[in-house]
């Protein structure tokens, strides 16, 4: 097995040094990639600020054909779809995590865990296709809408896209609550439900917050299914009923229009600028989520 002859020490030392350096470089490559991504988004996107006036960019209309690039309807569209998706996914996700971790009998856990893994693996374009061909007509029929392709349809499917993330992070959070907490509560005469509701969930709240944030990040960046089911109408979602109308998000706009623009045109640069916004938003969300994880680790607290 191991080469114990060690006749050529200097050679072996040299190999060791070369490999270690290589691994070190590769180890740092992730930082390089994040930096490169930011750099190239900026390179192609910042020009938008020179080409297009601030007043135009901050406008409320998106008509690229007329050189009108108001990003507000797209931004609000993304926010609306994402928030509703999280409102749906949060109770379902945390409820499922609590069920799997605290309540479910062994056999139910054995079924649920792989099912959730399967859900995480379904490509978003397949979910989008399902939403388009089966769910949207259903909503159209039973909700009395003008079209089935609405922000709400998008949010519902988006919720299922974000669920695996929320469930697995929330499960980790529940895992980190020490058994002694549960034992103490049960010993004082609390029921299992009271223990879950008043002790376990509050103790896991920072982890659940992380789950929400990662779910948000996942939802706001989702592209294909949103493009396929939300109808892509670039209007400002200002009234309540805009939830049941077609809407357009930043991701869908990039995906739908980048293929058709001339390289180097204002439209092209503005689409990259949308990319910068998406990058920064998810960067901040993930930074916040990561710092919550790191803080917990450093405090050493719960484990």
């Amino acid at each position: 097995m191991l080469d114990t002859k060690s006749t050529d020490q200097p050679y072996r030392k040299w190999v060791e040094f070369a490999i270690e350096s290589l691994i070190r470089v590769i180890g740092f490559s992730s930082i390089g990639f994040v930096f490169l991504i930011f750099l190239f988004l900026m390179r192609e996107g910042l020009t938008a600020l020179l080409d297009v006036s601030w007043g135009n960019l901050l406008g409320t209309r998106w008509y690229p054909i007329l050189d009108i690039y108001g990003v507000l309807p797209l931004l609000l569209g993304s926010i609306l779809v994402t928030l509703i998706a999280i409102l749906i996914a949060l109770p379902l996700g945390v409820g499922t995590a609590v069920f799997v971790r605290e309540v479910a009998p062994g056999w139910a856990r054995e079924i649920l865990k792989p099912m959730i893994e399967v859900m995480a693996g379904i490509p978003s374009v397949v979910l989008g296709f399902f939403g388009m061909t089966l769910l949207a007509p259903l909503f159209l029929k039973y909700l009395g809408l003008a079209t089935g392709l609405t922000a709400f349809t998008g949010s519902v499917i988006l919720a299922y896209m974000a669920l695996p993330t929320i469930i697995s992070v929330a499960e980790d959070a529940l895992d980190a609550v020490p058994k002694s907490y549960r034992d103490a509560s049960l010993a004082m005469g609390a029921t299992q439900w009271q223990t879950i509701w008043r002790v376990v969930i509050p103790a896991a709240r920072s982890g659940i917050l992380t789950a929400i944030m990662l779910g948000l990040g996942r939802a706001i960046g989702e592209t294909m299914l949103v493009m396929m089911v939300t109808g892509n109408a670039g209007r400002m979602p200002l009234t309540l009923d805009s939830l049941f109308r077609p809407i357009r998000t930043m991701t869908a706009t990039i995906a739908a229009e980048m293929g058709e623009v001339a390289q180097g045109s204002s439209h092209y640069h503005v689409l990259f600028a949308l990319g910068i916004i998406l990058f920064l938003v998810t960067f901040i969300i993930n930074l916040a989520a990561a710092s919550a994880i790191f803080r917990k680790r450093r405090r050493g607290g719960l484990r």
Binding site: I37, A104, T133, G221
Partner: protein, 282 residues
């Protein structure tokens, strides 16, 4: 007492209900696509070129394209991902730089797929002049799958007990020898699981390949890494939204092929993981 008992029952039912609400729609999605897609399944559908503006014939070039992209992604992502994991688990100390790397990985995992597409367009297609090609698409997908592979591989490496490394060193092995001959083989199943999960993500993603490699329709298979290619997820998007009058059967059939590919890989990863976990002797 009875009121508390009642509250517990109601609470537990609510939890079970939410779990059902999560699981049942998944079953419906998979079930309906399987049922409607089965009728399109045939040897010809899997092995022939599309005909009549993609309204007839098979989806062979899309299947081949997706496999090519997975291979390209694997070639780039495995060495870089496993290398990063080795660095993090075996070499890195807990300092500012290591925390920065971890932060970078978390952020790579969170960047929207369409932003990867923009990045690939900016760097590989335009700046490095690879054009819309398998090369550009594979590189873009590889960077996207890195965080999945790194975290799975690191976890696998860390689960190898420290004693293995100590024994290797005590027998006169260098650090790298210990890693290559002892630690890596022990961690291999976990690493392979991570690689499969990463490639599965690459196979299913559409947004990163939109502007870097995907072709609407090609009459022949790609011949080099600088060619464009069709791909299953993009093909499904195209035939379900861009081509009017597309027979539903072909749409469901394409969705089914993609779903089966992804779920098979998923299942393979799960089986591998549980098999090796049971066989592990430490």
């Amino acid at each position: 007492m009875s009121r508390r008992h009642w509250a517990q029952r109601a609470g537990f039912s609510l939890l079970a209900f939410s779990a059902l609400m999560v699981v049942i729609p998944i079953l419906i999605v998979i079930g309906s696509i399987v049922m409607r897609g089965m009728s399109a399944m045939s040897w010809e559908f899997l092995t022939q070129m599309p005909r009549d503006g993609m309204k007839a014939g098979g989806i062979f070039p899309a299947i081949v394209g997706t496999i090519l992209l997975m291979i390209g992604t694997a070639v780039v992502a495995i060495p870089v991902g496993v290398g990063s994991a080795i660095y993090l688990s075996e070499y890195a100390r807990d300092n500012f730089f290591t925390r920065s790397i971890r932060l970078a990985i978390v952020n790579l995992a969170g960047i929207p797929s369409v932003v990867y597409g923009l990045f690939g367009l900016g760097l590989f297609v335009i700046f490095l002049q690879f054009g819309t090609s398998i090369l550009s698409g594979s590189l873009t997908l590889a960077i996207m799958t890195l965080p999945i592979i790194i975290s799975a591989a690191e976890e696998a490496l860390r689960s190898v007990p420290t004693e293995f490394r100590t024994v290797s060193a005590s027998l006169g092995g260098t650090k790298w020898q210990g890693i290559r001959k002892i630690v890596l083989p022990q961690a291999l199943p976990g690493i392979i699981t991570g690689v499969i999960l990463g490639l599965l993500r690459a196979a299913g993603e559409t947004a990163p390949i939109l502007f870097t490699v995907a072709a609407f329709f090609l009459p022949k298979l790609p011949e080099s890494v600088f060619d464009q290619t069709m791909a299953l997820p993009y093909h499904l998007y195209v035939i379900s939204t861009q081509v009017p009058g597309m027979p539903l059967e072909i749409q469901y059939g394409t969705a089914l092929v993609l779903l089966v590919l992804v779920l098979t890989l998923n299942l393979g990863a799960s089986i591998l993981r549980s098999y090796f976990r049971r066989r592990r002797q430490w």
